[in-house]
């Protein structure tokens, strides 16, 4: 065993001891990376991939009279999911969607996706969306679900774009939609 790995183990043992004193299992999960999670964490996105991700997300959920995907933190969320949540297979699938968008930008318009005018970015993603959902492509469905999850379960997406009350406090079983206004985020 090398010095550095034994030091890590000692630190871990100390940390575990401290955690047992202060708070048990809940505290533990905050500090100690689980073996499974450790093996799941892949490398992050490159700067170029993240820039592409930002623009793809913004096409799917653009800024209108309410915030779009970037302001709502969707690209940051997806990057986090790729780094912390995805299996190696999911990571490859999600990055594959970005790569496909980039390829189609080049093949159709001869330029990188982020260099395209907004209407051309829309054309690329709109066509990709139509094709991949028609063929029920699991990789694209996963990607789109994460974009929507990232947006509609963000604070701005849930409470400004849709409706969300942490504590509704009442059940009204049958009311005119016009009184409620928008869809419930949860």
């Amino acid at each position: 065993m090398s010095d550095s790995s034994s030091q890590k183990l000692n630190r871990r043992a100390l940390l575990l001891g401290a955690v047992l004193l202060v708070g048990g299992a809940a505290a533990l999960t905050r500090f100690v990376r689980k073996p499974g999670a450790g093996s799941a964490a892949g490398p992050g996105l490159t700067g170029a991939q993240f820039a592409l991700l930002e623009q793809v997300c913004e096409v799917i959920i653009p800024t209108t009279d309410t915030a779009g995907a970037i302001v709502a933190g969707v690209p940051v969320f997806i990057r986090q999911m790729i780094e912390e949540w995805s299996s190696a297979e999911s990571r490859a699938e999600l990055i594959g969607v970005l790569e496909t968008a980039e390829k189609q930008a080049w093949s159709r318009f001869g330029a990188a996706f982020i260099e395209l005018a907004p209407e051309r970015r829309f054309d690329v993603i709109n066509d990709l969306d139509a094709q991949r959902l028609a063929s029920q492509d699991p990789a694209y469905r996963k990607f789109k679900h994460l974009v929507l999850l990232g947006y509609y379960q963000s604070e701005v997406g849930a409470t400004h774009e849709l409706r969300f009350e942490l504590v509704p406090g009442a059940w009204r079983s049958c009311v005119p939609l016009s009184e409620i206004g928008r869809a419930s985020a949860v």
Binding site: I60, E84, F164, R182
Partner: protein, 563 residues
């Protein structure tokens, strides 16, 4: 003696036994194998969606490596992860081609934190079913024996619901019901017209709609319609051991709780026909300890209880404590699920609802009761169901991006409805929990081996339940109606029952009519293992009633010196 009574397990059954015994003045020790949980402060119920780790999704590799079985439960997510065991650390075995889903959590309060909170009384159709068709053995009790105990536990737990006057779903002591929504009311009207003996009522559930003084005194408040119940509820609005029974027991001054202590075995004194000690392994120190009491209740959950009895071998009980009948571990049942149907409703586009109601509706059993023509199976099924409008998730599988997508998802989508069947499973001796012959867990205890399958009756029942569900949705004007995809493996409904069944005859059952072991006079078992048949309704309310009844019986016997 260390204590008057020992209760193994702190879930729904153990919590009830502890409360009743403590209130009868008995010094009671509750032994929980899992860790301590602080009511309120250990819950994630005040986390908004954007504050929940990974928006509720558990990392894929972690899930695959550690939660392969537990993650199949609908209530498993990143905000409830602490309530499930890691399968990697708590293995069990099954035959390779016969999966069984043993879904569970090891912590104070057990599955009373994550349970579905649906609460229905069993009826005499259920208690008489085994006698009528000859499968299993006759229950040693009938509805009249349990009815006053259902009253008692419903009042204390706080059950919201509506009385319907149905023989197969007895009325109870209910707090005000929650209301059906517009589409559910329409469905109720259409179904009750079309099928005169089918009835739809709002789901009876262990939620405080109007807390009583007794509930408030325990620090419990009214339901806030959040529907984050499986994370734990800081309002104490739904019944759990942590919100209700253990605090009530604590108030008496008679309760001692120890956590992190796995019961290894029960020692037996043959001369006195009594459990003489409860041996535990401290999971922190790995040291063994033993506790003594005048009476011992095992409420370790259906499979856990069987495991403890089977492991408690002695000269007089070579195959396990209280097992002279060779029925310990046998007759494992679980409600048949993965049956039913779903569809969408084209109407009511201008109607919606406010709040997140934590229950649905219930369509109690009719098959083989009021409708038995062309039925080629025994017993029956009931349906739980709900209707709601779809939200942003539909954008994930419908084509469209950009401003149009955003505008479309701003408003709710069509109404959908799910009918979720719960079918009765026959008790069969071959459906069985045993101890593995060689593999042991990290504590050196033999692994549980579960061998359980559905039979021909279950297959026929599932087929008919799907057909009925589709027919009802179509009859009520639903579109895009699809039957449930596949019957789930046994264990999936988390209603496991039957491994130490009650019966009249000591040669064919483990427990008598008071949940007392035929073979061992100071041993009682009141969790799901006592069930002689599984009926069609969610079983927890019945465990509560049986637990309260058995605890008071034991207290009576101790007081009179008869035990």
């Amino acid at each position: 003696m260390d204590f008057d009574a020992i209760v193994v397990g702190s879930g729904i059954s153990g919590g009830w036994v502890a409360k009743e015994l403590c209130e009868r003045g008995l010094k009671t020790l509750v032994i929980e194998r899992g860790h301590h949980v602080n009511h309120r402060t250990d819950y994630m119920d005040f986390s908004a969606p954007w504050d929940v780790p990974h928006r509720g999704m558990v990392p894929e590799a972690e899930e695959a490596e550690h939660y392969a079985v537990q993650s199949t439960c609908h209530a498993f997510n990143s905000a409830t992860k602490q309530w499930w065991v890691r399968d990697s650390e708590h293995p069990y075995s099954t035959p390779a081609d016969r999966p069984y889903r043993w879904i569970r959590g090891y912590h104070l309060g057990g599955r009373s934190i994550t349970w579905g909170r649906q609460t229905y009384r069993m009826s005499d159709y259920d208690f008489g079913a085994n006698l009528k068709d000859g499968n299993g053995i006759d229950w040693p009790i009938r509805y009249a024996d349990l009815s006053p105990w259902y009253d008692r536990v419903e009042r204390f737990a706080g059950i919201s619901g509506a009385n319907e006057g149905l023989e197969q779903l007895p009325d109870g002591q209910f707090l005000p019901p929650m209301a059906l929504n517009c589409v559910e009311n329409e469905f109720k009207k259409r179904i009750e017209e079309e099928f005169p003996t089918r009835r739809i009522t709002v789901g009876r559930c262990a939620h405080l709609t109007e807390p009583t003084a007794e509930h408030i005194a325990l620090g419990r408040g009214p339901c806030q319609l959040r529907s984050t119940c499986e994370r734990g509820c800081g309002y104490g609005a739904y019944f759990s051991s942590l919100s209700a029974t253990l605090p009530a027991a604590e108030k008496t001054g008679n309760l001692t709780v120890i956590t992190d202590a796995i019961v290894e075995r029960l020692d037996y004194d043959h001369a006195k026909r009594r459990v003489s000690g409860v041996r535990v392994i401290d999971t922190n120190t790995r040291q063994g300890r033993s506790y003594q009491a005048r009476v011992v209740f095992v409420c370790a959950s259906t499979i856990g209880t069987a495991q403890i009895l089977l492991a408690s071998q002695s000269e007089y009980f070579p195959t396990g404590l209280a097992n002279s009948s060779d029925t310990v571990g046998r007759y494992l049942m679980d409600h048949l699920v993965g049956i039913g149907a779903g569809g969408t409703h084209p109407g009511f586009q201008d109607r919606y609802y406010y709040g997140r109601r934590p229950t649905g509706f219930y369509l109690p059993r009719y098959i083989n009761l009021t409708e038995s023509a062309d039925v080629d199976f025994l017993r029956g099924y009931g349906f739980q169901g709900y209707s709601g409008r779809s939200s942003w998730e539909r954008g994930g599988y419908q084509a469209g991006v950009g401003a149009d997508l955003k505008q479309r998802l701003r408003y709710p989508g069509p109404w959908g409805m799910q009918l979720i069947g719960f079918g009765e499973m026959l008790p069969r001796a071959d459906n069985r929990v045993t101890l593995h012959s060689s593999r042991k867990d990290r504590w050196g205890l033999p692994l549980v081996h579960i061998d359980c399958t559905h039979g021909e009756n279950e297959r026929r029942l599932a087929e008919r339940a799907n057909r009925d569900a589709v027919q009802m949705l179509v009859a009520a004007g639903f579109e895009n109606v699809m039957p449930a995809a596949e019957v789930k493996p046994p264990g999936h409904s988390v209603h496991e029952m039957g491994t130490a069944r009650m019966g009249r005859d000591p040669s064919t059952s483990v427990l008598n009519a008071r949940n007392q072991a035929h073979d061992v006079q100071n041993l009682f078992i009141t969790d799901g293992s006592c069930m002689s048949s599984c009926g069609t309704v969610n079983p927890s309310l019945t465990y509560m009633a049986l637990s309260a009844r058995a605890a008071n019986y034991a207290a009576d016997r101790l007081a009179s010196g008869e035990m």
